[in-house]
C-alpha cells in the first residue's frame, strides 16, 4: 500500500516534502515486506522453537547426564556417553528394536499392499462407491487409544467377536490373542493395519486419479495388456505419492504408543514392548530421565536416518 502511494507520488514528479501528508503518515507506520513476512511467520517459528526445537536440544543435553526427574534436589551431573554405552551394552535395546522392527515392517508392508488394492478398487465407479469410501476412511479418524481399547474387547477370549468368528470357522478352541506372546505382536500389527490402511489408500487414490486418460488411450492404441498398462502407466504415476505414504506410515509406526499401551501394555511378557513404550517406562515409571532421554535420542536418530535415506530415494523417483 505504502509502496503504491510512493510510486504514485513519484510518477507525479513530487519531491518527498511535497507529497501529501496522509501518504507520509502512512509511510511512517507501514511495514516493509520483510517485516510483514516476519510478523506472519514469527509466532509459528516461536512456537516451533518453544515446543519442538528447545525440548529436542534439552533432551540431547539430558541424555548426557544422570538426571532423574523424581529427585529434583540432586544436582545434575554430566556423565558423558555413559547412558549411550549402557544402552548398547544391554540386551534390552536389541529386544525393543527387534520387536519394533517386526511391527514396523509388517504393518507398513500390509498397509501398503491393502491400501493400494483398495485404491484400485475405489478408482472405479460403482453403486455404493461413496458409502464404501466413507466407511473405509472411518478407522483413521478415531483416536489410537480408543481403537486399542475396543480391539481389546474384540480380542477378548470370553466375549470378543474375534474368537467367536475364529471358533465358528476353525473350531480353534479357547485361545487368547493378547495373552499369547506369539500371537500378541500379530494382533497389534492387525489393529494398526485396520486403522491406517485407509491413509495409504487415500494417497494412492489421489495418485491414481491424477493419471491422464491420454496415457491409457495411447497404451490402448499400442495394444498394451492390462498388466503392461499398470506397470508402465499407473504404477510410475502413483509411486511418488505411495512413497510419501509409506514414509509417513513408517515414521508413525516407529513411534506408535497409545494403541499398544491400551491393547497390550507392552505385554505379554514384553512381547509387544516397542521402543516408544520402553522410553515412556524409562522416563515416567523408573524416572531414569537421563537414560530415557538417551533412549529417545537413539530412537530419533534411527527414524531421522531412515527418513533421510528414504527422502533421497523419493527425490530420485520424482525426478525420473
Amino acid at each position: 500500500m505504502s509502496n503504491a502511494t510512493e510510486s504514485s507520488a513519484a510518477r507525479q514528479g513530487l519531491r518527498h516534502e511535497e507529497r501529501p501528508a496522509t501518504a507520509r503518515r502512512r509511510h511512517r507506520w507501514a511495514l516493509s515486506d520483510r517485516a510483514l513476512s516476519w510478523l506472519f511467520i514469527g509466532p509459528t517459528i516461536s512456537l516451533l522453537l518453544l515446543i519442538n526445537i528447545f525440548p529436542l536440544f534439552w533432551t540431547i543435553y539430558l541424555s548426557f547426564t544422570n538426571y532423574r526427574a523424581n529427585i529434583p534436589i540432586r544436582p545434575i551431573r554430566w556423565v558423558g556417553l555413559r547412558n549411550y554405552t549402557r544402552i548398547f551394552e544391554s540386551n534390552e535395546i536389541w529386544h525393543y528394536l527387534q520387536i519394533t522392527a517386526h511391527f514396523v515392517v509388517w504393518s507398513v508392508l500390509l498397509e501398503t499392499i491393502l491400501g493400494f488394492a483398495l485404491a484400485l478398487l475405489l478408482n472405479r465407479k460403482f453403486r455404493g462407491h461413496g458409502l464404501l469410501s466413507t466407511l473405509l476412511v472411518l478407522p483413521m479418524l478415531l483416536s489410537p487409544a480408543l481403537v486399542g481399547l475396543f480391539w481389546k474387547y474384540i480380542f477378548d477370549p470370553q466375549v470378543g467377536v474375534f474368537n467367536y468368528i475364529v471358533n465358528y470357522l476353525l473350531n480353534a478352541g479357547s485361545f487368547s490373542m493378547l495373552s499369547n506372546p506369539h500371537l500378541a505382536p500379530w494382533a497389534v500389527v492387525a489393529v494398526d493395519v485396520w486403522m491406517w490402511t485407509p491413509f495409504i489408500m487415500l494417497l494412492c487414490l489421489a495418485g491414481l486419479q491424477s493419471v491422464p486418460d491420454a496415457l491409457y488411450e495411447a497404451a490402448e492404441i499400442d495394444r498394451a495388456s492390462r498388466w503392461q498398462k499398470f506397470w508402465a502407466v499407473t504404477f510410475p504415476h502413483v509411486l511418488p505419492l505411495l512413497s510419501i505414504a509409506v514414509l509417513f506410515r513408517a515414521m508413525e509406526s516407529f513411534k506408535v504408543f497409545g494403541l499398544v499401551m491400551q491393547l497390550t501394555g507392552g505385554g505379554p511378557g514384553g512381547a509387544t514392548e516397542l521402543m516408544s513404550v520402553a522410553v515412556k517406562r524409562a522416563a515416567f515409571v523408573t524416572w531414569k530421565t537421563g537414560w530415557g532421554a538417551a533412549l529417545a535420542i537413539v530412537m530419533f536418530v534411527i527414524v531421522f536416518g531412515a527418513s533421510a535415506v528414504f527422502v533421497r530415494y523419493l527425490n530420485r523417483v520424482s525426478q525420473r
Partner: protein
C-alpha cells in the same frame, strides 16, 4: 431511585465477590485415586467442613495415571494437592525428597500417638520413614491388603462338595493353604455350573503398573520370603532369589497355567473384579477396598464369602495395599491440611469412616466387639492387617518395581526362562539400582 438500585447492586456484587473469595480461601484439596473410597471420603469430609468451615475438594486421578500425575506435580513443586493420600511405596521419596511435611512433632503436640492408637503394620508402612525410626510423614488412612472372594453358593452345592471330597480327600471350604487354593481352582476350572462354563480363579498378571507383583508378592510372603537381609536392607543376594522364593514364583505360575480364564494375561483390580462379578470364576484375588462394592453387587453380593490370603508351610503373609494421608510441603494451606489430618485421626471420625466403606486401621475401630460382624469381610480384613508386608518403599521403588514387573510377567505370562533366572535377574537389577544410588560405597 436509580442511584439506590445501582448502589444496592454494587454492594451485593461486592459482598458476593468477597463471599466467594473467602470461600475459596477456606478450602483444601485432597489428592487420591479415583475410586469408591475417595467418594466415601468426600462424604465424610462434609463433617469436617461443618465443624471448621473449611471446604474439602477432591482431585481424584484414575489409577493408571495416579502415580505419574502425582509425581509430575510433586517434582515440579506444584501446589495442586494440600493433602495427598499416596501409595505406601511413596513414603520414602515423599520424605527424602521433601515432598511431604514431617508430622512427628505435630502428632505429639496434638496427642496423636500412632503406635498406641493404630495397628502396627499400617503405621510401619503408611507413616514411618526411615523404618524403625520415630519419624512420621503420614496418617494411616485406607488400610488395605490383597484378599480373596469366593462363591459361597458354589462351595455349598452338595454334588460339588461330594465330588471335591472324593477327589481331594478333604472338605470343599475356603482354603487355608496355597496348595488347597490350587486344588479348588483346578476343581472348578472348566466346570459347568448352572449351565455356564466357569473357571477356577482370577489372579493379578498385569505388566504395566504394579499388578503382577502384588499377586506374586502375596505368595512370596506366605512362603516366608524376605527382600533383603534382616540387618542390612541392601544385602539382597540369597533372599529374594532364595529357594523359597523360587518355589513361590513357580507356584504362582502354576496357578496362571492351571486355573484362570483364557485371556487373563493382563489382569489387575478391574479385570479381576469383572471376572468375579460376572460369575466367571469361583475365587478372585483382589484388594479389600473393592469388597464393599462386591458385597452390594446385585449379581454376587449375597453369595460371596471372603477369606484371607492362604499360608504355606507355617508362614503366612499378604501384600499390603492402601494409603496414608500426608501433608504436601508445597501447599499454601498447610495449616488447614494439618487440621484435616488431626480431625481424620479422631476415633469417632474413624468409626464413621469404616461405616461409610473406608478401611480404618485405628485400634478403637478394629477392636470394637461388634467389628467382626459389622461387614462380611471385616474379620478377613482384620486378620490380613496382622500379616501384611510391603514392597520396597525406598525412593527408587519405581525402578525396583518395574524390574520386578518385567521379569515376573516375562516368566509367568510370557513363559520365558525359569523362575530362578527371573529372580536372579531381579536381584541383579536391584543391586545395580542401589549401587547407582551409592548404597554400597563403603
Amino acid at each position: 431511585m436509580r442511584r439506590i438500585i445501582t448502589g444496592t447492586t454494587c454492594l451485593l456484587l461486592t459482598l458476593m465477590c468477597l463471599g466467594s473469595a473467602s470461600a475459596q480461601e477456606k478450602s483444601i484439596t485432597v489428592g487420591w485415586a479415583a475410586w469408591d473410597p475417595a467418594n466415601a471420603l468426600m462424604e465424610l469430609s462434609k463433617d469436617f467442613t461443618k465443624k471448621t468451615g473449611i471446604q474439602v475438594h477432591g482431585e481424584f486421578i484414575p489409577w493408571p495415571q495416579f502415580q505419574q500425575k502425582v509425581f509430575t506435580v510433586l517434582n515440579s513443586h506444584g501446589d495442586t494437592f494440600d493433602v495427598l493420600i499416596g501409595d505406601s511405596q511413596w513414603i520414602g521419596s515423599g520424605a527424602e525428597y521433601g515432598h511431604y511435611v514431617e508430622l512427628s512433632q505435630f502428632f505429639k503436640n496434638n496427642g496423636i500417638d500412632l503406635k498406641k492408637d493404630f495397628a502396627a503394620g499400617p503405621v510401619h508402612y503408611y507413616a514411618q520413614w526411615p523404618k524403625g525410626s520415630d519419624h512420621y510423614w503420614g496418617l494411616p488412612t485406607e488400610g488395605d491388603a490383597v484378599g480373596w472372594t469366593y462363591r459361597k453358593d458354589w462351595f455349598a452345592k452338595p454334588e460339588l462338595k461330594k465330588a471335591f471330597k472324593q477327589k481331594y480327600g478333604y472338605e470343599l471350604a475356603p482354603p487355608k493353604t496355597w496348595k488347597q487354593l490350587k486344588d479348588i481352582g483346578e476343581f472348578f476350572q472348566g466346570r459347568t455350573i448352572d449351565g455356564k462354563k466357569v473357571y477356577g480363579m482370577a489372579i493379578y498378571t498385569k505388566r504395566p503398573g504394579d499388578g503382577i507383583s502384588q499377586g506374586v508378592l502375596s505368595a512370596m510372603w506366605s512362603w516366608g520370603v524376605s527382600m533383603h537381609a534382616p540387618d542390612d536392607p541392601y544385602d539382597l543376594q540369597g533372599y529374594f532369589n532364595s529357594d523359597e522364593a523360587v518355589d513361590a514364583l513357580k507356584f504362582y505360575k502354576s496357578l496362571y497355567d492351571c486355573c484362570v480364564p483364557p485371556g487373563s494375561g493382563d489382569n489387575y483390580m478391574e479385570a479381576d473384579l469383572d471376572a468375579y462379578t460376572s460369575g466367571q470364576v469361583a475365587m478372585a484375588m483382589n484388594f479389600f477396598a473393592f469388597f464393599p462394592g462386591i458385597s452390594r453387587n446385585p449379581n454376587v453380593g449375597d453369595v460371596t464369602g471372603y477369606f484371607v490370603t492362604p499360608g504355606h508351610d507355617g508362614h503366612h503373609g499378604t501384600q499390603l495395599g492402601g494409603q496414608g494421608m500426608s501433608v504436601v510441603s508445597y501447599s499454601n494451606k498447610k495449616k488447614w491440611a494439618k487440621e484435616y489430618v488431626k480431625w481424620f485421626s479422631q476415633p469417632e471420625v474413624q468409626k464413621k469412616w469404616w461405616e461409610l466403606g473406608g478401611y480404618s486401621t485405628r485400634k478403637s475401630v478394629l477392636n470394637d466387639p461388634g467389628f467382626d460382624d459389622s461387614e462380611p469381610y471385616a474379620k478377613a480384613f482384620k486378620e490380613s492387617m496382622k500379616i501384611v508386608k510391603d514392597f520396597w518403599e525406598t525412593p527408587n521403588y519405581g525402578e525396583l518395581l518395574d524390574t520386578a514387573q518385567r521379569h515376573f510377567n516375562q516368566y509367568i505370562v510370557g513363559g520365558q526362562g525359569t523362575a530362578k533366572e527371573a529372580l536372579d535377574a531381579i536381584v541383579r537389577d536391584w543391586h545395580d539400582s542401589f549401587e547407582a544410588l551409592g548404597k554400597y560405597d563403603n
